[in-house]
């Protein structure tokens, strides 16, 4: 089941390879849309058959390199299934949005199908080497997306910076994985076995170093302050679809790594150094928000809000590791909030990046002060952007509120000061989103260059509105999601408290 979900896009990509690039553009994009839709249908089937309290499910395991303890092992639980589903939704949205892509459609579609396999594969991987492989291949895929379909003269440079930065991070991560594996009685890379064995229990400095390597590798990908500097240029120069996948799916690889690898496999070390995660999280929250406030480029601004949003996740995960007192319920709430935030951020930021792509498509600039009063001529565009922005800043009724409310309530019990500071982040993001909305959509009409500025096209509406609708559904009736996440966070809290 999972193997089919993961490798279906890659199989389609292989089928498309021999098709001549001169074939009609729509052929490629429609095969991708169809593939993404089938894949999403498969994920929904898996979701319906998933038993929330059943732990790891749909597992498949085939020995790969048994001498080194490496196997092809996949499975989903309540932490990964929501992310798999969110990725499948986002890829379908991006596929629909790509109907307007005219540059080298064959290579473009094949690249995104490859990325889809890689992203889905990462969230279901239950072997560290498999995880690492998907982690690295996602970097390679995104490099080509930014370098090949980005815009702006500096796109090659931005792509290269992104590639080198995250690749170096991934190698540090690999080093941590090897350190973790060698500590086990019999070297293995199996996540389930390593989680059960807790091989570094009581190995003070060694465990700290392994956590440092893994934490640094994941922090670069997340990204958190101070290793976030690759993110703004990569986003600014990436195409809208690339940005949506990069922010929506690929940033989650880092935060997911924390809940899947760092916390359950290194519980001692995580508890000991939880304060570092809290501090880094809070600094990311405030710094990300402040720098976002100073941006004039709307896409760069959204990129920095991602740093801010990822900071909340890290704060929650750090708070979940703090052992002071007996706040199991609160810590569980924090973890659930963190996972919900990953899903919510994927949907909302994905939507926001697709919407800013509309600005570039119409007028080739992201400068906020170039636009004003757009609401008058593009009501749908303005409405959709407003909903996405409000969701992103955490207005009740949207998914961002559910996530952030749980994060703050959960973290307040163990980390009151940090949580208090992080609340500032919400205020600043509210200010910056309102300012951006006011600048672009309200006031007297002004658009750069003359000519029509059409409202959202059907393909754009069809790609963005489902994302917003899902966010509203999660905001109003979150139980279907929380029921899946909560048992898994309970298990995680149990593992961290070992």
């Amino acid at each position: 089941m999972l193997t089919a979900i993961v490798f279906l896009p890659l199989a389609v990509a292989v089928v498309l390879l021999p098709v001549p690039a001169r074939a009609p553009r729509r052929l490629f994009v429609w095969s991708w849309i169809l593939t993404a839709a089938v894949d999403l249908a498969l994920v929904i089937v898996a979701w319906l058959r998933f038993r929330p309290s059943g732990g790891m499910q749909f597992t498949e395991r085939v020995p790969w390199i048994p001498q080194a303890g490496i196997s092809y092992h996949v499975g989903v639980d309540g932490l990964s299934l929501p992310l798999v589903a969110m990725s499948a939704v986002l890829f379908l949205a991006v596929a629909i949005y790509s109907l307007s892509e005219t540059r080298r459609p064959k290579a473009y579609v094949i690249l995104f199908l490859f990325l889809q396999t890689v992203c889905l594969g990462l969230f279901v991987a239950q072997d560290l080497i498999l995880f690492f492989l998907f982690f690295d291949l996602s970097i390679v895929g995104m490099f080509f997306v930014i370098a090949g379909w980005g815009h702006g003269p500096a796109r090659r440079h931005a792509a290269l910076q992104f590639f080198l930065y995250t690749l170096s991070g991934s190698l540090v991560l690999l080093l941590g994985f090897i350190g973790l594996s060698l500590a086990a009685a019999r070297p293995t890379f199996d996540m389930v076995e390593l989680t059960a064995a807790n091989p570094l229990a009581g190995r003070g400095v060694y465990a700290g170093l392994v956590l440092l390597a893994i934490g640094l590798g994941l922090a670069i990908k997340t990204p958190t302050f101070p290793v976030h500097t690759w993110l703004p240029p990569a986003h600014t120069d990436a195409p809208a679809t690339g940005s949506a996948i990069l922010a929506g799916v690929m940033l989650k690889m880092g935060t997911y790594g924390f809940v899947r690898i760092a916390m359950p496999m290194l519980p001692d070390a995580w508890r000991r150094y939880a304060l570092i995660a809290v501090v880094v999280g809070v600094v990311s929250v405030v710094y990300g928000a402040l720098v976002a406030l100073a941006q004039t480029n709307v896409k760069r601004m959204i990129a920095y809000t991602s740093v801010n949003h990822m900071g909340y996740i890290l704060l929650a995960l750090g708070a979940a590791g703090a052992v002071a007192g007996d706040h199991a319920a609160a810590r569980e709430l924090a973890v659930t909030g963190a996972v919900t935030q990953m899903v919510s951020h994927g949907l909302l930021t994905g939507a926001l990046f697709l919407l800013t792509g509309v600005l570039w498509d119409r007028r080739q600039t992201y400068r906020m002060d170039a636009y004003s009063g757009l609401a008058a001529i593009t009501p749908v565009f303005a409405g959709a952007t407003a909903v996405a922005a409000f969701g992103s800043l955490g207005i009740p009724g949207l998914s961002g509120f559910v996530a952030e409310f749980q994060i703050f309530t959960g973290s307040l019990a163990t980390e009151p000061v940090a949580t208090g500071i992080a609340l500032l982040g919400i205020l600043i993001t509210a200010a910056l989103f309102l300012r951006a909305l006011q600048q672009i959509f309200l006031g007297p009409l002004h658009i750069p260059a003359a000519g029509a500025f059409p409202d959202l096209r059907p393909a754009e509406i069809l790609s963005v509105l489902p994302l917003l609708a899902l966010s509203v559904i999660i905001g109003i009736a979150p139980r279907f999601l929380l029921d899946v996440i909560e048992p898994a966070s309970r298990v995680l809290i149990g593992l961290v408290a070992r």
């Binding site: 390199i65 001498q67 080194a68 080497i129 492989l133 690295d136 290269l160 190698l171 090897i178 060698l182």
Partner: protein, 466 residues
């Protein structure tokens, strides 16, 4: 006494091809001399078949007055050498085609590889030394093959250091003979516990000097940068890959079959030398501007990793797998260098991805392979080496190797960065080379296949002589 000639078929094929090729080369027209290359390739392929058949037999025994061991280590070592030689020939074709000494080039390759095979199987110090000489003499000639100033200098330096190390090695053999009363590994193993410790220790150091020279490890590494940078890339590829296989497997056999009872702490010596090779190679590679010189220092640091499995108790499997992975990956990197004009500096790789995307991807695979990223072969090799080191109570060595691996990323990336940058305006058209590209693609593919299919290919066990 077992004098079963069948057991030495791979060596016989290659030596026979060298002799026949030399004779045939005198009669062949200039434009047909490539047939000699074909002959050597065919001999290698036949040798692989013979070696695989022997390996499948699953026996371990000594032949020819107990000087040559036929076992799993020999079998796999032979296959690695015999697979590397055709790859080198493939990446040389364009460089030597039409050269008036084309035949001699292929014959020298075959002779040097035959010597390597002799070192791989040697179970006697004199056999080891005979292999060392055969490899080296052909290699000196190869180093000077281009006959220009740089390659003459390289050849002379190579020869002088080689002659010195060879003499030291011979002296070491004499001392061990004096101490143990024999040059055979089995006899030495039996006699050395009773021998003079000082004599044994000096003898061991002498023998290691020769083998360290051949493998290009610190402190006998001074020839590596000059030879690699001063010779055409196909020859540099050969000299930094093939003789190393023989020297390292020869060292493994010498250490684990002749010395375990000697009382000399050679594991610690090798561990220190491994650390020095890794670290010095890396430090020197950091700021190189020439691609071939950078690769030269990279091979020095790679030898450091390869010394680790020799130093620890149970490193056989990791040594063989790392050697196989290193051979294809290193040859792949040199094949990419051979695709560009000779002596292209690293800056000259700017925009390679735009001009020749497939070659650039091959370079990416090979260089990241040398760093050791999954799913390439060297990754599995490094993983096995780290595991063997930790299991063998050399955790500090594994840590040093890991730190060096991270550091090595820096200079490999320094090379990769320009490859993916935009090309300068007046980009010259790609050079019309075909075969180095074939070699680069095959090596990159082989590096990934070896890594992905490692489970099936890791030498699972098989008999080795004690």
């Amino acid at each position: 006494v077992n004098e079963n000639v069948d057991a030495l078929l791979p060596e016989a094929f290659l030596a026979g091809a060298a002799v026949v090729g030399l004779l045939a080369g005198s009669w062949l027209r200039r434009d047909r001399q490539w047939l000699v290359g074909l002959l050597v390739t065919a001999a290698c392929l036949a040798g692989i078949a013979a070696a695989a058949a022997t390996l499948a037999g699953g026996r371990a025994y000594l032949v020819f007055s107990d000087v040559f061991a036929i076992d799993t280590v020999t079998g796999i070592g032979r296959i690695i050498v015999l697979a590397a030689v055709p790859l080198v020939i493939c990446l040389s074709i364009d460089a030597v085609r039409g050269d008036k000494r084309e035949t001699e080039y292929y014959v020298l390759l075959a002779l040097s590889a035959t010597g390597t095979l002799a070192m791989v199987g040697a179970a006697d110090l004199l056999m080891l030394f005979a292999g060392f000489l055969l490899t080296s003499i052909a290699a000196y000639a190869l180093a000077g093959f281009a006959k220009d100033r740089l390659s003459m200098e390289a050849s002379l330096k190579y020869y002088l250091i080689g002659a010195l190390c060879g003499v030291v090695m011979l002296a070491g053999i004499a001392l061990l003979y004096a101490a143990g009363g024999s040059t055979g590994y089995a006899a030495l193993r039996a006699q050395l516990p009773d021998a003079s410790h000082a004599l044994t220790a000096l003898g061991v150091i002498g023998v290691l000097a020769g083998l360290l020279f051949k493998s290009g490890a610190v402190p006998a590494h001074f020839w590596v940068p000059d030879v690699t940078d001063g010779t055409p890339s196909p020859i540099a590829a050969f000299l930094t890959t093939v003789p190393k296989i023989g020297a390292l497997i020869g060292m493994y056999r010498f250490a684990h079959q002749a010395l375990p009872t000697s009382g000399v702490d050679w594991p610690l010596l090798l561990a220190v030398l491994a650390t020095a090779s890794m670290t010095l190679g890396n430090l020197a590679a950091f700021f190189q501007t020439s691609a071939q010189r950078l690769l030269a220092y990279s091979t020095i640091s790679q030898v450091g990793y390869l010394l680790i499995p020799i130093a620890v108790a149970d490193g056989r499997q990791s040594l063989l797998f790392y050697l196989a992975g290193y051979a294809v990956t290193n040859l792949g990197a040199f094949a990419v260098v051979a695709c560009l004009p000779q002596d292209t500096p690293i800056a000259g790789y700017r925009g390679l991805f735009t001009r020749q995307p497939a070659v650039a991807i091959s370079l990416l695979v090979c260089l990241l392979g040398l760093v050791g990223t999954p799913p390439t072969a060297v990754f599995i090799g490094k993983l096995e080496v780290f595991t063997a080191a930790v299991d063998g109570r050399y955790t500090w060595l594994a840590v040093v190797a890991a730190v060096n691996t991270v550091a090595s990323l820096f200079y490999y990336l320094r090379w990769l960065v320009p490859v993916f940058q935009t090309a300068p305006g007046d980009a010259e058209p790609p050079r019309a080379v075909r075969w180095p590209r074939v070699a680069a693609y095959s090596a990159a593919a082989a590096s990934i296949v070896l890594g992905v299919a490692a489970a099936a290919l890791l030498p699972a066990g098989g008999p080795t002589l004690p």
